[in-house]
Amino acid sequence: MTNSEIDAVGQADQEDRALVARIARRDRSALEQLYRRHAHWMTPRLESRCGDPDLVDMAIQDTFVSVWKSAKKYRGDGAVGAWLWGIAIRRLIDQMRKKRPTSVDLQAVGGLEHAMAFEDTLIDNGTHGSLGVALRQLDPDLRAVLIATAIDGLTTKEAARLLGVPQGTVKTRLMRARQHLQETLA
């Protein structure tokens, strides 16, 4: 990223912060603005975690309902976009947990493929170089766990729910992924 791009990101976040402050003062139009600034990227990114568009829609809705209720709790450590993503991914997990298990299995398969495609472009677009190569070489199962924990910032318990595998599996896969990366990058 060039310096001017970084400035633009910084300024956008300043505007976001001002909106969150207004939301904390019960300003509905600020919520609408924040929603319109972020929904367009959050929706496809959530869809890359879960193949069911209805669940994604509900997660998006719940996210901004939470923002309305808990804007006061935003401490300002980290960008607003990251804070929103943290809420959104957890709301998605809530929705996936509520859904009947039979359909989750089907969705999970599609969702995983989606996730791979999405993160592949993310990796391609990124400036990570050798890290990108290393990530791409990773077994899809291991990569999904890594994305859930490192990129989405989920706990192993939450990642287990998102991916529909036991918590122990998440832990072992995470360990294997780390080993793999260390070996490739060494």
């Binding site: 319109r36 929904a39 929706t43 829609d57």
Partner: protein, 234 residues
Amino acid sequence: MSYTTDPARIERNWRAITIELDSPRPGRLERMLQRLGLPTDVSRLVVATPALRRSWFVALGLSMLIGLLATDAAKPRDDLFVLLLIAPLVPTLGVAMAYGSNADPAHEVGLATPMSGLRLVLTRAAAVLGFSAAFLALISLLAPSAPAMAFGWLIPSFGLCSATVAAMTFMAPRRAATVAGTLWVLGVLIARGAGDDPLAAFTVVGQVLMAVVAVVGLVVAVQRRDRFDLLAVR
């Protein structure tokens, strides 16, 4: 990064967000029922009828009255008799108060929906029965004597409620409760007069009899469920 979303979807979700924010929260009672594990539609059916709440208050009041009547420690068996005689009448009264055009302002609107009238009656009956049983159980625990029989009202309550619901397919709800309640009181008093034991009606034979009444009542109600789907006009 340029990840785009269909503008129509953005609009749809924004409207959904405003709806979520503008919908009033369910009342305390409804939230409590949902926490107990009731699905949202059932909890709504239970709390939406103010008459149902009224019948709960009546149940509460009656249960307390029974508690007062049945705390004379000098004659424990007589107290228990009073408790067992009156307790089944509590939910029965509640069931009759929770259905029909007198009790439910939305009765006629409700009839014209695909919801089965019988299911509505039974849902409300179960709500009243559950609520009354909780209070009566509390009173029974406080009752001084004969713990083995202190819960002897439970099966008769089912029987009497079931009989009332069945009778409601023949007559107005309140009359149905009156008829069922009167028969119950007469039956218990006759059983008492026939032998030495004041609690004769609540022994195994009596309990089995009331269980049979419960099942038969339910069968009759199911057979005649059309009556709960139509307006009761003369």
